[in-house]
């Protein structure tokens, strides 16, 4: 095993000075360096997530969304900034606050909203719900609802990419797995087992702690040791810990995270990254947020990642107020349309109850079929598994 290496916390740098990585153009899969077009694209993605969540909360209040629902508002810079630093085929996996990651990874908001509404057009055919966003084509491996459960799975994704590359040679390049978790998941045993396995087996996986300050209603300090330096937990597992303090700034998140991704891709060794952020809403829809002060919320609201980037762009002359307004209006229209389509979409047929339990047919089970999201347009009306029914 490698000796433990501790890296000093990465300090906030002026993002405009951060040079674009040389590897950006490799494979044509990585998004371009931080030119104005890229920054505007990130702004648009963050706006899209925010608007999606605003409409999700409305829909929840109107009882169009059921179950547990966890809103991503406030943390947009994390999903958008980190995913922008990845190749398209790098696997990602996350916890239950997963709408933002799905949208940032490029899932069509309609399939995401339809899933929330429990419709057959949802990404999981209405069987998963808010906490289970999956997209095979976009290499999104869920949406996992038990706190920390995704962390051992992430080691498996990374193991598989390495096995494909080194053992069976079906892949010719290193893929980096990114596993998102909240600060609450840090205290689950499975996370520590996953970290240890990643270290022992040298797996190309980056664990990203989205430190929003609270595990439901329990502040980080009340729940874990090293509360002011969670990234240092990496030391126990012989891996490098990184801190991205300015987690409300998408450019900083991207640039600092990109360096970690590049290193992991090169070394095929795991890393732990703590990103400081804040959720503007409660843990879930039923949370009155009595465990935190109005002053604290105000302080973080002033760092809104969308305001942050739009102000910077406007100040730099890269975006006009009118363009920003137009962008916002367009997104509102787009999400309004998504809500309308999702509310009009059909619920899963009752037959679907017994589909996807097993891959084959036996007893009452009726094999498996892919969701409409992954079928070509001409396939959507036909049942792929019809002959085996």
């Amino acid at each position: 095993m490698r000796p433990p290496v501790t890296k000093a916390p990465v300090k906030q740098t002026n993002h405009k000075k951060v040079a674009a990585s040389k590897n950006d153009a490799a494979k044509g899969k990585v998004k371009s360096s931080n030119d104005a077009k890229t920054l505007k694209h990130w702004l648009r993605e963050m706006l899209l997530i925010r608007e999606f969540e605003v409409r999700t909360m409305q829909a929840y209040q109107n009882r169009l969304v059921g179950g547990f629902c966890h809103i991503y508002s406030g943390q947009e810079a994390v999903a958008v900034g980190t995913i922008a630093a990845l190749q398209d085929d790098d696997p990602i996996i996350t916890a239950y606050r997963c709408h933002g990651h799905a949208l940032a990874r490029g899932m069509d908001p309609y399939y995401c909203m339809a899933e929330l509404f429990g419709r057959f057009d949802g990404c999981a055919k209405g069987k998963g719900g808010s906490m289970h966003m999956f997209d095979r084509e976009k290499h999104l491996y869920g949406g996992h609802a038990i706190v920390g459960a995704q962390t051992p799975l992430a080691t498996g994704l990374a193991f598989a990419t390495k096995y494909e590359q080194e053992v069976i040679k079906t892949s010719d390049h290193t893929r980096v797995t990114v596993c998102y978790l909240g600060d609450g998941a840090l205290n689950q045993g499975g996370f520590h087992e996953a970290m240890n396995l990643a270290g022992v087996l040298d797996l190309p996986v980056i664990f990203v702690i989205e430190n929003n300050g609270y595990a439901m209603g329990t502040s980080v300090a009340r729940g874990t040791t090293l509360a002011d330096a969670l990234y240092r937990k990496a030391e126990s597992y012989g891996m490098t810990g990184h801190l991205i303090e300015e987690g409300m700034d998408v450019v900083t998140v991207h640039d600092q995270f990109k360096k970690v991704v590049d290193e992991t891709r090169k070394t095929s060794k795991p890393d732990l990254v703590e990103i400081r952020t804040y959720r503007f809403k409660g843990h879930s829809m039923s949370d009155p947020r009595k465990y935190r002060t109005h002053e604290e919320e105000e302080k973080w609201n002033k760092q809104d990642p969308i305001d942050h980037l739009s102000h910077d762009l406007i100040k730099a002359g890269e975006l006009t107020q009118d363009e920003f307004k137009k962008m916002t209006t367009e997104i509102r229209g787009e999400i309004r349309d998504v809500v309308k389509r999702a509310s009009e979409a059909e619920p899963p047929p009752l037959d679907e109850l017994y589909v996807d339990v097993h891959t084959g047919n036996w007893g009452p089970f009726k094999g498996t079929t892919l969701p409409n999201m992954l079928r070509g347009d001409n396939e959507k009306t036909t049942d792929q598994n019809q002959e085996s029914h």
């Binding site: 498996g156 193991f159 498996t368």
Partner: protein, 327 residues
Amino acid sequence: MAREIEFRDALREAMTEEMHRDERVFLMGEEVAQYNGAYKVSRGMLEEFGAERIIDTPISETGFSGLGIGAAMMGLRPIIEFMSWSFSLVSADQVLNNAPKMLYMSGGQFGVPIVFRGNDGAGGQLGSTHSWCVESMFANVPGLKMIIPAFPDDAKGLLKSAIRDDDPVFCLESERLLSLKGEVPEEEYLTPIGEARVRRTGNDCTIVAFGRPVHFALEAATELAKSGIECDVIDGRSIRPLDMDTIATSVRKTNACVVVDQSWPFASIASEISAQVQECCFDDLDNHVHRVNNDDVPAPYATNLEQAMLPHAGKVIEAVRSATYNL
């Protein structure tokens, strides 16, 4: 051509043949590689396949069972060995939430073609925590398959089928059977999952058993035959899917049924089969279905208490006599 080999060698042959056939298959678990397996099931596999495919793990059931599930979601075909199924309880969330439900909760996007295998049931004086029979508790969960071989030939054929299966398969082995010798064909074969095997035929009573208790059932049947009671002995082989057709056909013939199950009686495999038999053979039964289970107590250490708790041939004979009192 068949030759006699041990149960553990049959399991190993299944794994090595499938690993030669499909390079996506790998074996992972505690002590499977350098130590040659805690029970020598994987003896020699490290030399044969190398450390990239025969992988020792730390004692970390949640971690490595989750790792296997993640790898299976990406299309690999892991065999995850639990030194004992008792230890799988540590990783219950991975084993019972993520493996069997992933296909469903992802709307058909991610299947989990994984095999979890290891020792199930009482070893010998291992006490309460190490003597788990997980079948009743785990078989409750939809989305998984469960096999429980009693003889070396089925151990090999069922495990090969399990490795090729696209669903998660739980393979329950018995430490007490690993040295059992039996005839195993040399040529390749597969034993289909979900098909019971009639090990002995008779018209007076049906005995259904799974795993090690099949041997108690056969011993009991031999003894009962001496007093003129002839039994059908059904080796269930799979618990999910359950071959109710074979069981029902037999019960319709014998009009009596005894189920031998090494898990606790409350909400057990035996309870399930009793319920299903009365649903499909209500008018055929001359008596209620009799169950022979572990006693409803934690596994004790002392030899005499442990023996008193476990199913054995004597208990099966008593149950069959009661079920056929009218003969």
